[in-house]
Structures are given as C-alpha cells and as structure tokens.
Symmetry: C2
Subunit: 691 residues, 2 copies
C-alpha cells in the first residue's frame, strides 16, 4: 500500500526543490504569502494572521482554539482525556459517562492543567549564535548555548511577564523567542462519552471514513471568572464544502523531514524498532492489568490509549522508513544537495556536516538504552519515580545560577514544573506497581542481570519483589509531602528515607552522565551540522522552506478533498447517520457500540448533518484539537486524526491519498442540541458569547 | 512474591541430592515405587501402571484420557480449541456457542486431528550410542545419530505397525523407543462455551481460585465406528477429598531443571526475552486484527489464546530466572556437583562438559535470530509459508534414503506430515496477510534493511507491499493443489510459479545452513556434554532422578492441598456457586461474564458441587488435559492449569504454594446434566459405556 503514497517530492534532476502542492507547516512570522496569492488568489493580511494566532491555544497534549468571547476553548476529547480521567472516580467515570455543565457553577476545575496563547515571536538567532563562539569544544558550546537561552528566556519573562521559550528551528539554524500568555484555571464544560469520541476504537484510529465526535469544551478562568477574549474564532455552522480552501492553526509536534539519510536510517534500524518494542510490551502489560475488571480498566485507560495511539503512529512511520521507494528518493535528494553544495565555493565546508551526523548516530545507538532507561526513567515507568527524580534534582539545580541549570529547572520553566509536581491528580498504587514491576524486568533484560547499575537498583531482589518494596516504601503519592520536600531543598532530600527518593539519588550520577553524552556528543554536534546543511539548502533550494515541526504554532493550508482507494471513491465527508449504519453493521458491538444517549435520541438527530471530513492540510501528532478555518477565518472544523496514508508525513508530505481528518462544526452543535441537552452551549458557540 | 517460592532444593552442604516431597515427572518404565511405598504405603503394580498408561492419550496440543469403553476421550477445552475453531464458521462459532452432539450421528469429525496411545517403551540407548563412535566430529556424530534413530524408528514401524519415536532423555544420556497406536478419526462430542471453559480470561489464567469448566469430550473412531477400548479410566463421581494422594498421567512438554547455570543464564538473558519480545508483538498485532469486528475476532481467537498463554507462562518463568535467590541455589548446586565430580577419578573428564555448554550458548545467542526467522519461519508467520516449506523440502528429502533425511521427513513421520499438509482446515487470507506483514516487518528490524537475505525476500518492496504480493500470488490455501505439488515431487516444485513456493525455494539454502549450525554446533555438543553431566549426577546423587520433560508420557504423584497466600488460606477446592458469586462481583462483565446457559439454569445447578481443585502434582505445559486419578486408578479430575507460583516449575519444583489446577469430575457430570442437556453423556461417563 505504501508504494502508492510517494509522489516525486524531489525530482532527481530538477533543482531547486519543489514543494508538493499543499505541503508545509509554516511559521506565523513567515507565512506562505506568495504561494497562497499565486495558487488561491488569497491575500493573507497581518490582521487575519494575528487573529488566528491569538485565537489558537496550546494544551499539554495538543492544540485548541477559543470559540467564544467568554473563554470557551474547543479541543479534542483525546487531547482532554488525561484531564477528564483526573476528574473521574470509580463511582463517576466521566470518560465513560461524558459530562455537560449546566451553567458556570457546574464547570469542573481541572487538576494541574495549563494553556498557552502565543503573543509574540522574536528572532534571537544572532544572540544565540553570537554566544556560541566558533572553535569551542562540544561541551563548551553546549553549555554556552544552554546559558544564553536560559538568560534570554529569563530576561524576557522579567520584562514581559509572559512565559518565554526559545525555539530551535531547522534543527539548529535559527532560534526564535516565543512569548506566551499562560492560564492554569481551566474548567471542563462539555465532553461526550469516550465511546463516540473514539468510535471505532483502535481499529479505526488513523482510518477513514470516520464517525467520531472527538470534541471537548473547556472554559478558561482567571480570578474565579471566565476570561474575556478579544481573539476567538467565529463559528461557521455550515461547515465545509468540497474543494474549499481551509487552514489549520496548531502545534505539530515533531517531524523528521529535513533529517539526513543517516539519521533516517538510525530511526529505521534502531530508534523506531526500539520504541515499538517498548510500546508493544506496555500495551500488553496495560491490557493485562485492565483485564482484571472494570475499575482496573478505568485506571489504565488513559495510559493504554496513549500507548496504542503511539504504537499505531510509529508502526505507520516505520512502514514508511522500510519502504525502499521512499528511501531511494531521500537518497537521491541528499546526493543532489551534497553535489550542489560541493560545487558552490561558499559552501565548501558543508560537506563534512553529513559525516558528522552519520557518526553521531553510532553514539546515539550505543547510548539509547541507558539514556531511555536511566535518564528518561523508562526503567521505572511510574510517576512516583518522576516526582522523586524532580525533587532530587530540584535540590541540586536550584542551588546553581539560572544559566547553569538543566533546562527544565531554569527560571522560565519553574511555574510549569511546580504545577506538575504539586498536582493533586489521583495515583493508583496497583497500576503504578504493575508498571514498575514490568519496567524493572525490562531494565534487567536490557542491561543484563550482571550490570552494576541493575544490581544497585534491584538490591539483590527479583524485579517484582523490589517493585513492591519501592511502592510500599514511598509516600510521594501525597502532594503535601512533595511540596515539603521541594521547599526543604537539599537538606530535606538528604534526610528523606523515602524509597523512591533514595532510588532517584542512587542513580542520579549515572543518569546525568548518559544525559551529558547525548547532550554534548549527539545533540550539539548534530545541531551545528544541521545549521550548515540548512545554510546549504537555503542557498541551493531557496528560502521558502518551512522548518520541521517543534510543537509550536504553525499554519498549514489545503483543500477539503476526497481520494481514491483502489477504484473506490472515498468522499470528503461523512454524515451523522453513518455512525448508526456502521454500528448496525457490527451488531452495535465494541468498538462500534454507540452510547445510550445516541441510541435513545436517534429520532431527534438530523442524520444528514455532516459529521467528519478530510482535507489535504499538512499536520502531525500535536495538531490534535487544531481548528480548521476558512478564508474568512471562521472555524469550520476540528482536526482529530490523519488517515493511515498520512502516517508517513513524519518524513515526507504527499497529498495523493494522505489526509487530515476533522469533526465538522455543524456536527458539534447538532450533537449538543439533539443528544446532550446542550442547547445553551450551542447558542454560545453560534453567537460567540454567553447569553 | 517469587522469593517465597524457593525452598532449599539443594542444600549446599548436603549431598546427595534430595528430592522435594512430591517432585517428579516419572517415566512409566521407571516409576517412583520406593518413594510411594515409603511415604504413602502405596504399591504401584504393573497392572495399575499399564492400565493408566494405555488409558492416557497424547493430542497435538496436550494430553487426554479414555473415559469410556466406547472411545470417549476427555481433554481440556483449550487443548481442543484449535480443533473446535476448525469446525467453526462465521455463522456458527462453536468456540462461542459450545457444542453437544445428540447421539453418534451428530458427532463432528475433526479436521486433521490425531491421537496417540503409548503401547510400549524399549531402551535403545546402547544401539544409539553404539552407532555414534567416539572421536567423530560433531557433524559426523550428528549425522550418525540421526541415521541410527531414523533406522530404529523405521524398523520398529515395519515390525510393529505402530508409530515409533526415539526419545532422548536426560538431555542425551538415554534413548528410549516409544511405540504408539495412532488414530486420526476424532470426533467432537461435547464442548462448553469458551466463556466458561476460560472463565476469568487472561486475568485468571495461571491463577487460583478458579471456576473453569475447561473440558471437551471427543470420541475416537475407526472404520466409521467408535473404537472399543479395554483401558479406560473408571469415572469417580465423588471427586477428591482434602489431602488425598492423587496421580497425574500426561505429557509434560519441556522443563529445564537439569540444565547448567550457563544455559539458564542464556535463557534469562537471551532466550526468554527474545521470545517474549515476539509474543508481545504478536499479541498486539492479533488484538489489533481482532479489534476490527466480531468475525475478525473469531478468526484470530485461537492464535491470540495461544500467544497470551505463552506470554504469561514465559513471563512467570523469566521472573524466576531473574530472581537472584533461585540463581544462587542453582549456582551452589552446580558448584557442589562439579567439585564432587572432580574428586572422583572415574569422572575426571566430566569437568570440561560444563565449559562446552557454556561455549555453546554463545553460538546459540549469535544464531538465534536467523534460526528463528528463517528455519523456524518466524519471518513469515503464516501456515501458507509452512506448507510451501514442507512441499519444497519434501521434494528434496524424499529423494534421499530414510536415514539421510531431515528428521521430520523420515518414514516414521510421513503419515503425520501428510495429515497436516492435506488438512482441509479453513485459512483466512486477511489474517494470514496481517501476520505476514507484521512478520516481514519484524524480520527487517531484526536483520536490518541492508541484509542480503532481507533484500532477497522483500525484492525491493516494502514489507506490506511484499506481503500482499505473496498472499495474492499463492494458491496453497487449496489442499488439492498442495497434494498435487507433493505428489509431483521435484519436477512439480521446479515448475511451480506459486509465490510462496518460490519464496520457500529462495531461502532454503540459507535456512538449512543455520539449521546445520544449531544441529551440529549447539545441539550435538550439548547432547554429548549433558550425557557426561548426567553420568556424574547419577554417580554422585544416585539414579532416582527423573529426566526433564520431553512431551512423552510421565507419571506424577502429589496431594490435594490448599496453601496460604500471605495470611489468607486458599482452600483446596472451589464450588460451582462460586462462579456466580465471582461473576456478580464483577457485574457479569467480561472476563467474568457467565454464558446464557449458566444464567438461565442457575436454579437447576447444585451450587455446592465442587468445581476446581488444586494439588501438588508436578506438571508443566503439555500436561493440559491430563487425568487426575486416585489410588484405585479412577479418574477424579482433569488438569487444566497451574497457579502463578507454579510457573517456576520450568526450572525448579517447590510445593510451598505452587499448585496444579484441575476440574473435578462431579462438576463435569453436573454441568452436563443441569446445564447442557447432556444426561446421556453423563450416564456414559458414570457407567463407562454407551447405553
């Protein structure tokens, strides 16, 4: 199947680089004005852009947008599901039951949630590069870069009062400073049952046609009141029409389109298989845990959803990497660029950059296991360890000046760190134990029983026995204790006999060691090499190249458009009645079982309303919850998925049959009115304000 | 938890070796007469033994026993499930619905099933060892051993008309010739719904207390009529009582109790993790396939059951291997034996044997991947490839004299091979495609995209594309075509343009090459080394040592006995009412949902009837379906599982809290009468013959 996906993205003989028709995750400060003008006769104005930018929001697990002047935010159910699970109990499982607040007083305050609005972008490339003098060792270059970024961020925060992040673009060629307004009082207003939000389950994930009401509405509060927003998207209740030009504004997480062949080969041969092996293991472990009964199933649900989703996405990406047709094209493109660079006297020192990246992959492969296990904490796979690690390091790091600290402990990140650390979210010891036992077993398999670190961690016990000891020996489930230890600093940590704190201390030197290897022997040389390659690309192929995704705000444009699967026409939209048909064809059995609320209100629903639609907009994981807007900047849809064919967008864009998948706006108001008794909310969406 | 499992099996200072109380999978021609006499005042008579031996049967996936003079065979539902699935269709899923034949005419003939009764055992150690002259190279020794075994088997078949197998015992110290009567007309008589046969699902697999009716009844036919059997087990409808002495007669598949520390370390560090990685992957792939809907679920069910079962068993075994306490004891025991052997002048050349086994593990680790992928066919994971492989090799092998052929193509194995090859079992192309695509992807990850074999197999295509091509290009789903190719020999194979046949031909030389490495560089030297170690063991520890399991008939004895879990008493039996209680406690939700037949007949069932029970008998995978008999040789139960604590029995036996789990005989007759309308069948069981 994959073979049909590849269009000649880089024509072997034709330079410069030709963009596929509707390709691109464009920076808001460098939008594709010319392309839109030429191909669609559409003028992007600054006002249009600023409005869309500020109506867009970033959530911890995805994207969203303001859809009323009273701070109403629309995102996906699956972006909100972690927040919804935190509000659920054994007695009241909101993921299962759904939720609708009857008026402001019933809106439920989320636990440890936050939301960002991008206010300004500033190019700080010169400042960053200026601080990293040529000729520095990789260690010194890394430290200098880290220091200047910490300083820029901290200065910006002090000056603007806005959360400030320096974002590296083109893998190290440019640095932009993003300033965000940040909110932490986020309340749940509406969520349908997960059953219809994720209708079709794993089988239909990344598939099309779809019938999913993957929506959740939050409201943002400040000082106990809903915020007033100037920039919110006007609701278009007619939705989309075939072939219409639409835009997506959201936060694509990560793509690897500009990476060299050597790095793609690393991902194909090591990175993806290694991750998939762990995901398979976690999925089986999670399902075994969930299989114990309803409450266990509820506790593991959010974890399992995330794992299964990643597994399917990565498997699709790996299928792309294993396709010789794609790799052949990538090979040819790289060869062309290298040859063109070699002929250009100004680019003569670029040649070695590809070799650097190739060499770096070997160091990466050698260290991935210890880095994943010890530094990323996969050897433990429990938030109780993550808390312990944060507490142990906070005591060390906050004693240092801002510019010398590990990135996550810099001043700019302090509020976010504290939000997570002090969160009162429920922690289920039985599930943490299951994950920890499995993780310790996996660590033992990976590093071997005789590895000194394994011996230290297991302390002469079998993985399960040690896991029980650790879970029984920690009280970090208590947010008050975490706060006390955090505020107590080094002294409190030194005095603690908590088993997880002890474990985090025990391995910290080794974990930092492997982090340093990755930071200074992999990331830093890669960054410098990619900087050179980007310069060559700009010189050879022109500057109209968007950077790879970085979980920052991007604009993509495309068309509402069906496709062909073999000889079959796949239309651009589905209808609400299709959900009933699909369910009936499967005897209303899982994963095609409709919730009670749909079955009993079938007569009231306008079954001809459009439900989901597809478009060619260039998105990737992280874009979930992004608004789809029309030329007028009105919201017409809500991105929630891509089809199977789009999974190769990690590496290359094609619009042959790869599509983004969205919920239509009319389906949302129709469901609110006819199924959920949410007429007031539907009115707010349509009028743009509470009545 | 594992730490509680280990009793001091080998006291560090006390030699000779002391058996745990009720340990042992004893040979029928070397039963533990003395132990039973001394500890239980029980005299095993030859008549008692012969009766039990001939009433026991071996099935492709486990054990069973005759329970009426009219050829009725009792085994587990999970042993029969592959056969039941082959008889099922989309319209009539017998795994789900259950089945009861109303009289002989309704008994359903199984597809490609066979059944063996052990008639005679003969010690052929001298003949085998005599043919393998000292001083031969490993290659020549392997060939000589293979030749003599093929000859012994073939001669025996010609003389006796019985299926003959030479079995290697003590990893290479003894060779016994087993002669079996073989039947192939096996008919399904009764199977309950899988829901109650596997009540509690994966969550309760290897757990206790249990409430599973894991039983199926077959009837053996010859010449279109039920066979008459002299040796069948008399049905004891009272079941067992606490602390009663009971015996299990069945076919334990494989244990590793006599293996050296180096081999256990190999299993811990490589063998088990490698297998588990594949099982996790298969389980996820199978569940994703099954998640597409009811019919997909039915098609994948039997595969998934087997994978999940192996995963749980292996994970339990690995937990044992990762327990330092067990490994410490194994280390001490080996040290003692080596020291004792070193002091004995007659054993002076044994010392090197341990080193040989240690060296061999490195060769094994190096070749496991290619051996698993190419020779075992895991790179394809479809029976369509297995058929192709068999056909391609049959053409080669049958051209050679019997004693030069690969083991599975010797005359003695010909009938079994043909039974499988010509079987009319249903093959679902969609599921075969899903497995093949996954397997080709896994092969690519394992060997790397640039491996010449991978390139040859993928032929320039992506795994999915190649999988589609292979499935579309083969007609081996048709048993008639398989028969034609088989009978056509080399000429037919050479002329075939079937894609799977071509693939099997393409890789055959490489597959054979890695098989030869394992045969001659791993198996043969191991066999010779273990022969020496066994001699040392017999000399130092005495000859009352049972050999590791070999999927041949063994006798174990033990007691019906509860145990303590922490402070909680786990009683020796459960009752039928407990199934209703457990189900109610879980809202009758999966995996604790009772079938309709149980719910509607609840009033008729004697809820106080015993249902499942546990005993200390030493069993392992392969024993599923084994009868439990009392001193009188009457059947009182049906083995179907062990508890979690018993999963370390792969490596060491303990009866502290490890237990075998069985269905009681009274539960079977009660269910037949009160739930399934099988009164006639219950009468046959109790009277021992059809009325």
């Amino acid at each position: 199947m994959q073979s049909r996906l590849w269009i000649p993205l880089l024509l072997v003989l034709a330079l410069p680089y030709t963009l596929a028709a509707e390709e691109g995750m464009w920076l808001f400060n460098n939008p594709p004005r010319k392309l839109l003008k030429e191909n669609y006769k559409f003028d992007i104005t600054d006002a249009w852009l600023t409005h869309l930018q500020r109506a867009s929001v970033r959530l911890p697990h995805g994207s969203g947008s303001f859809v009323s002047a009273d701070g109403l935010v629309m995102t996906n159910h699956h972006v909100a599901s972690t927040a919804i699970q935190k509000l659920s109990t054994k007695e009241k499982d909101l993921l299962k039951l759904g939720f609708l607040a009857n008026g402001l007083t019933e809106e439920l305050k989320c636990v440890g949630e936050e939301l960002f609005i991008l206010m300004e972008i500033e190019d700080v490339t010169k400042t960053v590069k200026g601080a990293v003098k040529p000729g520095l060792s990789d260690e010194d270059a890394f430290a200098a870069r880290q220091a200047i970024i910490a300083t820029i961020q901290s200065d910006s925060e002090k000056k603007s009062g806005l959360h400030s992040e320096v974002v590296q673009l083109y893998q190290g060629n440019m640095y932009h400073l993003y300033r965000y307004k940040r909110y932490t009082d986020i309340r749940l207003v509406f969520a349908p049952e997960q059953q219809i939000a994720f209708f079709g389950g794993d089988a239909d994930n990344f598939a099309y046609p779809r019938y999913d009401l993957d929506v959740t509405l939050f409201r943002v509060y400040e000082d106990g009141k809903p915020i007033k927003v100037e920039h919110f998207l006007k609701w278009n209740d007619a939705g989309v029409s075939d072939d219409e030009l639409v835009f997506v504004s959201g936060h694509p997480g990560k793509t690897s389109r500009l990476q060299t062949l050597a790095e793609l080969e690393y991902l194909r041969d090591k990175g993806y298989p290694y991750l998939l092996q762990r995901l398979n293991r976690w999925e089986v472990m999670g399902m075994v845990f969930a299989g114990q009964g309803q409450e266990a199933d509820r506790r593991a649900k959010d974890f399992l959803f995330g794992v299964a989703n990643s597994r399917k996405a990565r498997l699709g990406g790996l299928a792309g990497l294993q396709d010789p047709a794609m790799m052949k094209k990538k090979t040819a493109a790289e060869k062309n660029l290298r040859e063109a660079a070699a002929k250009n006297p100004e680019l003569k020192d670029v040649g070695g950059a590809w070799d650097v990246i190739s060499k770096v992959q070997k160091i990466r492969a050698k260290n991935i296991s210890r880095h994943t296990l010890l530094e990323q904490g996969a050897a433990f796979n429990t938030s109780l360890f993550s808390y312990a690690r944060t507490l142990v390091r906070a005591a060390d790091e906050y004693a240092k000046p801002n510019e010398k600290r590990l990135e996550e402990f810099t001043d700019a990140n302090k509020k976010r760190l504290e939000l997570g650390l002090f969160s009162k979210r429920p922690i289920y010891e039985d599930f943490e134990l299951a994950k920890l036992e499995d993780a310790l077993g996996w660590m033992t398999e990976e590093l071997g029983n005789n590895d000194p670190m394994v011996k230290k961690i297991l302390a002469g016990k079998a993985p399960r026995q040690r896991a029980i000891e650790l879970i029984q020996g920690t009280k970090l489930t208590d947010p008050e204790l975490r706060k006390k230890l955090y505020e107590g600093g080094e002294e409190a940590i030194d005095a603690s006999d908590d088993a997880m704190i002890q474990l985090a201390k025990l391995i910290d030197a080794d974990a930092r060691k492997v982090r340093t290897i990755i930071d200074t022997q992999v990331s830093e040389p890669s960054r410098q090499a990619y900087d050179k390659i980007a310069q060559a690309k700009f010189a050879v192929e022109g500057t109209d190249i968007y950077p790879d995704a970085t979980f920052t705000l991007r604009l993509s444009y495309g068309s509402v458009k069906g496709y062909k699967e073999g000889k079959k026409d796949i239309p651009f939209e589905t209808h609400m009645g299709g959900a009933f048909e699909k369910s009936a064809a499967n005897d209303n059995k899982a994963p095609y079982d409709l919730p009670e609320s749909w079955l009993k209100n079938k007569d009231k629903i306008n079954l001809k309303k459009s439900f989901n639609f597809i478009c060619t907009n260039d998105i990737i994981g992280g874009n979930s919850g992004s608004p789809v807007v029309n030329r007028k900047g009105e919201v017409v849809g809500l991105i929630f998925d891509g089809n199977i064919q789009s999974l190769v967008w990690d590496f290359v864009y094609t619009d042959d049959d790869a599509r983004s998948v969205a919920v239509t706006t009319p389906a949302i108001t129709e469901a609110l009115r006819s199924i959920y008794g949410g007429g007031t909310l539907a009115d707010e969406l349509i009028s743009g304000a509470r009545k």
